[in-house]
């Protein structure tokens, strides 16, 4: 009987999530009257604005991931190694983007970095792109920090650091050759989540007026019928592709560190 209810819950959950997706996918295939076709997809993919905005968002995602790794891996490592007492505070700070809406962040940015401020980042496209990247990194912070911190928890950071130091290694060598390779799977997980967030993000890009994929999806959704559904399916496929990549990458991870016998 318990098995029955367990299966019932699983089936209900699957229907709850899958039915709307199926409905949307089916709708996206109905652009040609009376038959299923990929016309909506072809139209979306052929749209030069799709290519431009998608390429822009992919570039921003890569920049955000690099910035996030450079910022978060050393920070999480140092907190674990030397400032364990600060961990609750750091965790609290990294959770803030979940409770502070993106619109608050972007208005803060605009107020702080407008053309008449001490650092007029919004005065140029490059400056605004940098600002947008910082914003994306902030939004991805809870996921990236947690992923890296969980990775660091699986290794004996202190002893590995001391072992490397006793062999003559400095901080950069330790981070690049010992710590990063051992938390690479965690970093990749964080990176794929960051990628998924950046690809779909609307608020920051729209208010900073950058040609990103999120605002393009919104624009299309407001003006077309079938293409937005096709675009949503593509966006889902990208997100799920990222999730699948996390699984694939984790298979190539170095095994758990040496265990005491």
């Amino acid at each position: 009987m318990r098995k029955f209810w367990a299966w019932a819950a699983v089936i209900f959950g699957m229907l709850y999530f899958i039915l709307p997706l199926l409905g949307m996918t089916e709708f996206s295939l109905k652009m040609r009257r009376g038959v299923y076709s990929f016309d909506a997809y072809a139209k979306v993919l052929a749209d030069p604005r799709f290519q431009e905005t998608f390429a822009y968002s992919v570039g921003m995602a890569i920049a955000t991931i690099i910035f996030g790794v450079v910022l978060i891996v050393p920070t999480a490592y140092w907190v674990r190694l030397r400032l364990p007492g600060l961990r609750p505070y750091i965790e609290f700070i990294t959770l803030l983007p979940l409770v502070i809406p993106a619109i608050v962040i972007v208005f803060g940015y605009i107020r702080l970095y407008n053309t008449s401020s001490f650092l007029p980042l919004t005065g140029s496209a490059t400056g605004t792109n940098i600002l947008l990247m910082f914003g994306y990194a902030t939004l991805a912070l809870p996921y990236m920090y947690r992923a890296v911190d969980t990775g660091l928890r699986t290794i004996d950071v202190g002893t590995l650091t001391e072992a490397a130091q006793s062999l003559g290694a400095g901080w950069i060598t330790i981070l690049a050759r010992i710590i990063l390779p051992n938390v690479l799977v965690a970093v990749m997980s964080g990176a794929f989540l960051t990628f998924a967030i950046v690809i779909g993000e609307f608020t920051l890009a729209a208010l900073l007026n950058r040609p990103a994929f999120g605002p393009y999806m919104q624009l299309l959704g407001a003006n077309r019928a079938y293409e937005p559904a096709a675009l949503a399916v593509i966006a889902f496929a990208i997100t799920w592709g990222c999730m699948a990549l996390i699984q694939v990458v984790s298979r190539f991870a170095p095994r758990a560190p040496a265990q005491l016998h």
């Binding site: 002893t159 590995l160 001391e162 003559g168 290694a169």
Partner: protein, 355 residues
């Protein structure tokens, strides 16, 4: 007198209000194998970490080869270290682990390869170079950790309880192996352990530590047979402590449970009628009377523990309890609890304990 290779001078270490190492002094000759022995929390690992550079002393100096190393960072000291938890890099193969220090030092590839092969042969794991740490047993991992520490030819080797995580058999074989390698390379080594058997079987000298101080520094034979303090006597080996009433301090005459005993030394400032603590190792007590064992005390057997080749017997002398060993003899079964017997020992084996 030649200059010591390693000189630890007046080192003190405090964490906040707690002092964990107090005025620690030690001179170590080149090629010596020294053990820091003591219970948990006695400061032995902290002292080792100060030598390694992982902790800065609150006061004092560390001098290696005539050079003051106190303010140098750990990666500038050229000191090899082996950790209890192995600390092999999980993302690297055995060969890469061993060659890590040489790669960091920027040595040529050919030199690294040759040195790695040499180290693998030294630890008898020549075929294991391509394996990852998780593919090795605990003992093998610790041998790789030893090879990794030795590969860059450090001036000093520090071993922080390297055998504690291993099972008993591997521990014994690996300690012999470590000692053989240390002798072969002639590298000055400091070994931290809380296991007295390990310390005594491996070391040239033992530093017995208690509450952040070195209570005694000496060869294993000396530390075991002539403990400098009551703590050393109690910590190194098993000890029977007997209360004795002083009769004549000048001649060393005392009484143990009513039996008069003439000690081999005078009792200095102790007054007649006072009680002193005397110590006796279990192996110096026998149930068999011999001429050399001139003191005989009647007792009642309270417990008999069969340990295989040795039987440890506990007895009550009517005021003092004694523990002593006898070899297993299949032809003569050991006594049973409740039996009355007499134990014999020599006054020369009685140690007068200092506070």
């Amino acid at each position: 007198m030649s200059e010591p290779f390693l000189s630890i001078q007046h080192v003190r270490k405090s964490f906040g209000a707690t002092t964990v190492v107090q005025d620690f002094n030690l001179d170590v000759d080149k090629g010596e194998f020294i053990s820091f022995l003591g219970p948990s929390g006695c400061g032995k690992t902290t002292m080792l970490r100060i030598v390694a550079g992982f902790e800065q002393p609150s006061a004092g100096r560390i001098v290696v080869g005539g050079k003051d190393m106190t303010s140098l960072k750990p990666n500038q000291r050229n000191i090899g270290m082996v950790f209890q938890a192995y600390a092999l890099f999980p993302n690297m193969t055995v060969a890469q682990n061993i060659g890590f220090g040489l790669r960091v030092a920027g040595r040529p590839r050919a030199e690294i390869d040759a040195r790695v092969a040499e180290m693998l042969a030294l630890i008898k794991l020549g075929e294991f170079g391509a394996r990852y740490p998780y593919q090795l047993s605990g003992g093998q991992q610790q041998r790789v950790a030893l090879a990794r520490a030795l590969a860059p030819k450090p001036r000093l080797l520090l071993l922080d309880e390297p055998l504690s995580a291993l099972d008993a058999k591997v521990r014994v074989s690996l300690r012999d192996e470590i000692r053989a390698i240390q002798r072969e390379l002639g590298i000055t080594t400091i070994f931290v352990t809380h296991d007295q058997e390990e310390a005594m079987s491996m070391s040239d000298r033992i530093v017995v530590m208690n509450a952040g101080r070195a209570d005694q520094v000496g060869a294993p034979f000396e530390v075991y047979n002539r403990p400098a303090t009551r703590f050393v006597a109690g910590f190194v080996g098993t000890l029977n402590v007997l209360d004795a009433v002083v009769k004549d301090p000048a001649s060393g005459a005392v009484e143990i449970g009513g039996v008069p005993v003439a000690l081999a030394r005078s009792l200095g400032s102790v007054k007649a009628g006072e009680t002193v603590s005397l110590a006796l190792r279990p192996e110096t007590i026998s149930m068999t009377h011999e001429a050399a064992r001139s003191i005989s005390i009647p007792c009642t057997i309270t417990a008999v523990n069969f340990l295989g080749s040795v039987i440890r017997i506990s007895a009550d002398t009517g005021g003092n309890s004694l523990s002593f060993d006898t070899f297993n003899n299949p032809a003569a079964p050991p006594p049973t609890p409740g039996d009355r017997t007499t134990v014999h020992f020599s006054p020369a084996d009685l140690l007068v304990l200092q506070a």
